[in-house]
Symmetry: C2
Subunit: 339 residues, 2 copies
Amino acid sequence: MTSPVVLVSNRGPVSFTEVDGELVGRRGGGGLVSGLAPLVAGTDTTWIAAALTPGDRLAASEGVIDAADMRVRTLDIDPTTLRLAYDVVCNSTLWFLHHGLHDLSRRPLFDRSWAEAWEAYRDYNQQFADVVAAEAPEGATVLVQDYHLALLGPRVREHRPDLTTVHFSHTPFAPPHLMRVLPTDAATELLEGMAGHTTCGFHSPRWADDYRASCREMLGHDVPTFVSPLAPDPDDLRAVAESDACATAFDRAADELGDRQVIVRVDRIELSKNLLRGFRAFDRLLHDRPDLREQVVFRSLGYPSRDGLPEYLAYRQEVEALADVVNRRWATDGWTPIE
Amino acid sequence: MTSPVVLVSNRGPVSFTEVDGELVGRRGGGGLVSGLAPLVAGTDTTWIAAALTPGDRLAASEGVIDAADMRVRTLDIDPTTLRLAYDVVCNSTLWFLHHGLHDLSRRPLFDRSWAEAWEAYRDYNQQFADVVAAEAPEGATVLVQDYHLALLGPRVREHRPDLTTVHFSHTPFAPPHLMRVLPTDAATELLEGMAGHTTCGFHSPRWADDYRASCREMLGHDVPTFVSPLAPDPDDLRAVAESDACATAFDRAADELGDRQVIVRVDRIELSKNLLRGFRAFDRLLHDRPDLREQVVFRSLGYPSRDGLPEYLAYRQEVEALADVVNRRWATDGWTPIE
C-alpha cells in the first residue's frame, strides 16, 4: 500500500467562483498546475493552496472540497500578509535571486519594509504548516511546491513527525554567491527550512548542485537532493493537437503564411525569458541574411505577467518598444503587427 | 640563481610626459601599481605596459627606459584597438562579468560591434605577446596581470617555450553560470587563454574555485591555480602615517570633529563598491539610533571613475543624488556638505 499524498502550493489547481450562492470550481492555469494536475486528478490526493480570489476565500471555510476531479483545500491568508509574502519576498526577491536577475549594484534593498515582508513570509509558511499538520492523513507524504513554501518542512514535522515532506523547486536555485546577497539570518533560515524537509527535488542537476553548494557553505553540511524533470502531460497535448479547434487554427495560419517560414515564441513577459535578446536576434538575422527578408514571419505571443511589480512594467515597456523598432525596420506593405 | 622577471599589465607603473624635449617618468597610481611597484623597484624586472598618454607613446619608440627606479617598456597600441579592447571588452564586459554586476535581462549585448571589440581584444593581447616574446630574457618568468591580458600565455609560449608564464587576477572570477553569459567561442577562448599560462593566481580561494569550476565545465579539464593576497606596502603606509602632512591633516580633522565619532570611506565611484547600500545604511543608522544623531560624521571620499562609460555616469548620478537625500535629512545647522 502506498502512503497517502498531500500536495501543497501557493496557487491551487482550481479557482472558485460564487454562482447563485453555489461555489463553482474550475481548473486554473500556470505551468505547475498544468504539470501536476493530470497526475493528481481522480486520486485521493489533497491539494492545499492559498485562496487567491474572493471565491477561493469562501471555499476556505468549507474545508476540503471535491472540484474538477480533485480534492482541494484553500487557505484564507490575510491579504496584507499574502501580498508581502508573495509580491515582496517570493516574486521580487526569491524569484530574482534564484534566476540571477537582480541588478545587484542597486537591488535588492533590505530595508525596514523588507524585514516586515520577511516576517509575513514566515507567517504565511506557518499558516500553511498548521493546515497541513491538521489535514494530512497519518503517515502521508507531503509534496511541497516551490520557493513560496521553503520553510514548510520543519514547521510541519515539529507537530507531525509521522509525515514525509518532499520539497520541489520548479525554478533554478541561487548558488552561494547569490545566497550571500540575502541578509544572513534570512538566508540561513531559508536554507534550514529547505533542509528541514525529508529531501529536496530540482529539475536539473545544476540547480540541485547550486542548492547543495549553498547549504554546504552557509549551513556547513551536505543535504539530500534528487533530480526529476516535469513536462506537460502528453495526453493533454495530444488531445489539443487532435482537436478541431487546432486543425482550424492550423489551416488559417497556413493560408496566411503561404510558403513563408514561421518562428513562434510563447512567453510570459518576464525578465527570465530573454525576450529582448530574442527580438534583437531576429533583427540581426534579417540584417545578415537579406535572402530571408519577407520570407520569415516571427510571431511572438507574450502575455503580461506580475504587472503589479515595477520591474515587470519597465520590462514590458522595453519589450514592446523593441518589438516596435523591429517591426518598423522590416515590416513590408500589406503587413500589420498583431496586437 | 633566480630567473629574470618580466611584468606585464595594461596600466604601467610610470606615466611619461615630454618636458622641453625630454621624457620625464613619474610613478602612477591605482591599486595594482601601488601593490606591485615597491616589489619591483630597484630590481632587474622589466615592466611592459600599454602607452596611455602622449608621453607614453613617445616612450614606446625608445624601447626599455629606466624611470622611477624601474625598467619600463611601453607599447604603442592603435587608439581604436585600445579603446575597443579596454572600454568594451575589459571594462564593460569582463569587469562586470567577473564582479557579477550585469543587469542580465538587459546586458551585456553581443551585437556586431561587440564582435569587433572582441577582435580588438585578441589583437591587443597579440601585440603584447609579440613584445614579451621579443624582450623577455632567456628562461624568464613572465608575470601577467589581470583580465586585460587573459590570452597572453599561449601566444607568448608559442614562440618562447623557454618562458614561464604566470597569470594573476586582481578581481573575482566569473563562476560557470556567468561565464556562460559570454558567446561560447569567446568564453572558450578566454578560458583556454588563461589555462595556457603555466599557472593562474587569485587573491582568494573562492575566486580560484570559480575559475577552476568554469574551466572544468567549459573546457572539460582541471587547471592549476594558486592563491596569494596582495596588500599595499607596509613601509609605504608607515611613511605616510609618520609624515608631517599626515599629522597636520589629523590635527585639523580632530579640531573639526571634536568628540564626535567619524566614519570614513574611500572609493572609486564604481558599481562594485556598494556605495548606494552604504549611504542607505548610514541613513538607517541615524533613523534607528536617535542618540547618534549629530554625534557621528560620515565622510565619503568618492572619486569619479571610468566616466566614459554610461553605466558609470548613471551610477555616479544615483550616488550623488542619494548622498544629497541623506544630507538633507540629517544635516544640522552649521554643517556644510563637502564637495
